[in-house]
Symmetry: C2
Subunit: 425 residues, 2 copies
């Protein structure tokens, strides 16, 4: 919850009197600046806060983050110049606290003065990394919780009836996708195109050669095994691209057939299970470049990557695997059989019921999942007994993160308004 | 140029009689298989070719790349099962060369027989990596040539008048973009929307919060410094996203003002120059996470990354930097001043005329560039003296690579038709 304790130095002064911040966010003022002092001949500024905290900022850093209009375009909140526009020997000449509690800095060897919002300074105190920092306070920083059949039997599910009006519902659903990699909306309109309308509440779609929206149903001359009645082994979509789409949305329009249940597995959990069960296999799957290709009469996408990609700290960054898009392996001759062996182990694990969830789609259901974390597949189905029609589209993780930040930003602005009802129009 | 020497074993047999390949490509047959022999109890197959080459393939690899219809969906050219569908102990029981020169394999412990196209086998001979391999023969594998003011004064330029009909022109332009990171088309229609039509000849666009197409001209309430008359320091677009767009297209509709010349710098060349001039600065720029943010009333994109990103082999993968999207730096307190120092060095280098090209836009010009390699900027301009209007859009590198492969594939198919005119309808 946003901090509601607000302090401004002068009686009668309001938050509105504070200087603008270099962003569009609202900042509470949980403590007041009680002293500002130059250190190291003005290259560092020390602030003492009313709650006992002591913060230090470099003059160059303050100058770079100032929101005076010669430095920042207030309309775009973008800097006007690059770093070379900052004086090489930037130093604080004078520092004081003005009557509304803002920090005022006079710059050495310059005419200009900069004012800083105390709440913004408090939130960006990099000298106390155990306190808040821009990363620690990222509203979109939600810890993933890997799951298996025992800990999550169904996708976290939300009533979608009010989806297009309800921001709290949107935020809860997006939070579930961050945490579990998957979230379901129920009782959405059973209308073609709904999948795009839902995804656009987050941000722009990612169009691909399969279109802006794609229809998962039996097609003549199918461009993908997805457009047949075949079973699909759990996979990520488009591992053939440099950038696999971050999000996938599937909306059910019809499902009157037999079979076709969704199969989902958490790649983070799978990777952890494999790492424990067979460290050598895990090492190979995180290092051997497996090639994928997505060939069609008018496109030819190829990429190669380990099936499990790690970041520099050894955490799982993403999975990249679609068993039906295997291109010819081209590793050293003597490695071929071992590589096939570990890939077999991996697929055996994805078929393990204890690591899967399975569920049926109802018309009006929409499932969204992190395509780089969750492997998705389906059971085979019989077209003859009915009709199964899903519409899908892709989006990016970054759009989801941006949307979560905006939703939190609005809550924060509303909370500040509540705390100080007279300070805003 | 495609190989035109074709050999099939039986007189009168044609390429059409050969088995299908696991992809949609056409393969010349530069040598005939003269002997096929089992090794290691059938786990390996040895082929002797008429040109003296000896190739070896693992049984499991052959089985996985077979194009019989129980294994591969010939409509989609996608595998029907994952690796667990392959027998664990896959071995070759019998191997022979049929009358049209195809390899025929009978599988141990299975009823089935697989036929292989000799040209496809020759091209995918992973036992002779100094010969062809899927990677070595990737038509889209074009070596980048870093440039500076001395080696490339203007973007490689092509007459765009026939652009929408001429595939050779398309291929030449895309090749220039791969090689130099930039390519220009001249004398395109001076019509709004042309930029999207041009980009769609490659593949789908990448839509962002700035729209599917964006207008670079003075806007009221601008969402970016790009939409003002300000100078822009060379930068990449959208470093605030997990995935910076790979390609950017800018099409000039009007340019009657003063100033506004384009500034371009090759990030690969810049990185090499910096590595040589100041290895310590290079190390910091490739490791320190610099944060960017792209905040707006309705979106809040953030990312942090080194300014120069290297791959595991130490090659430059991409640059990520937009001086007007600097977010507050949050590194260890004692590193702040040094990080600002090296960032200053970097921007001084981007301002170095010997590492830049500058040019004017003419209405009808379209410049496309690799947004993750080329830094682009512009001089300030005066709106009062005229009007400057560019339309832009984004695409992805992978679409460009796919298009190059398809263009080469068509040339290859045509060459095979020429070489054997009677074999096709």
């Amino acid at each position: 919850m946003p901090e509601k304790t607000l302090r401004v130095a002068a009686p009668g002064a309001t938050l509105e009197d504070l200087p603008p911040t270099p962003d569009f966010d609202s900042y509470p003022v949980p403590a007041a600046i009680i002293a500002a002092a130059r250190e190291d001949d003005g290259r560092i500024l020390r602030l003492d806060w009313s709650d006992g905290r002591v913060s230090r900022y470099h003059a160059i850093w303050l100058r770079d983050n100032a929101s005076d209009t010669d430095h920042l375009n207030l309309e775009t909140r973008e800097q006007r110049g690059d770093v070379t526009a900052l004086p090489k020997d930037t130093r604080v000449a004078t520092a004081s606290i003005d009557q509304v509690g803002a920090l005022e800095i006079g710059w050495a060897a310059a005419e200009s003065v900069s004012r800083f919002h105390p709440g913004w300074l408090y939130a960006h105190d990099y000298s106390n990394p155990h306190h808040s920092s821009p990363l620690a306070t990222d509203d979109a920083a939600i810890e993933p919780r890997p799951w298996d059949a025992e800990t999550l039997a169904e996708p976290p599910t939300f009533d979608g009836a009010a989806f297009f009006e309800d921001d709290d519902l949107l935020e809860a659903w997006l939070t579930a996708i961050c945490r579990h990699g998957i979230g379901r909306l129920r009782d959405l309109p059973v209308e073609a195109g709904t999948v795009a309308r839902v995804a656009e509440r987050i941000g722009p779609l990612r169009e691909t050669n399969f279109g802006r929206i794609f229809d998962v149903r039996v097609q003549t001359g199918p461009g993908s095994n997805a457009y047949t009645t075949a079973a699909l082994t759990p996979h990520t979509d488009l591992p053939t691209r440099e950038y696999q789409p971050g999000l996938q949305f599937l909306h059910c329009l019809r499902n009157s057939g037999t079979g076709g249940r969704a199969i989902m597995a958490d790649g983070y959990r799978l990777a952890a299970a494999l790492r424990e069960a067979d460290p050598r296999a895990f090492d190979l799957l995180t290092t051997v470049e497996w090639p994928s290709s997505n060939r069609a009469p008018d496109s030819d996408y190829r990429w190669q990557s380990p099936v499990i990609r790690l970041d520099e700290q050894g955490h799982v960054l993403e999975l990249r695997v679609a068993p039906f898009l295997r291109a010819p392996l081209a590793v050293a001759f003597d490695e071929v059989e071992e590589v096939y062996h570990v890939l077999r182990l991996f697929f055996e694990m994805t078929a393990e019921p204890s690591l899967q969830m399975r569920f049926d789609y109802r018309p009006g259901d929409l499932v969204a999942f992190d395509n780089r974390r969750i492997l998705h597949g389906r059971e085979a189905y019989e077209e003859i007994t009915g009709e199964r029609w899903l519409q899908g589209c892709y989006g990016e993780r970054e759009e989801l993160l941006s949307r979560l930040r905006i939703l939190a930003r609005r809550r924060r602005a509303a909370a500040l308004d509540d705390a100080e009802p007279n300070s805003r129009a």
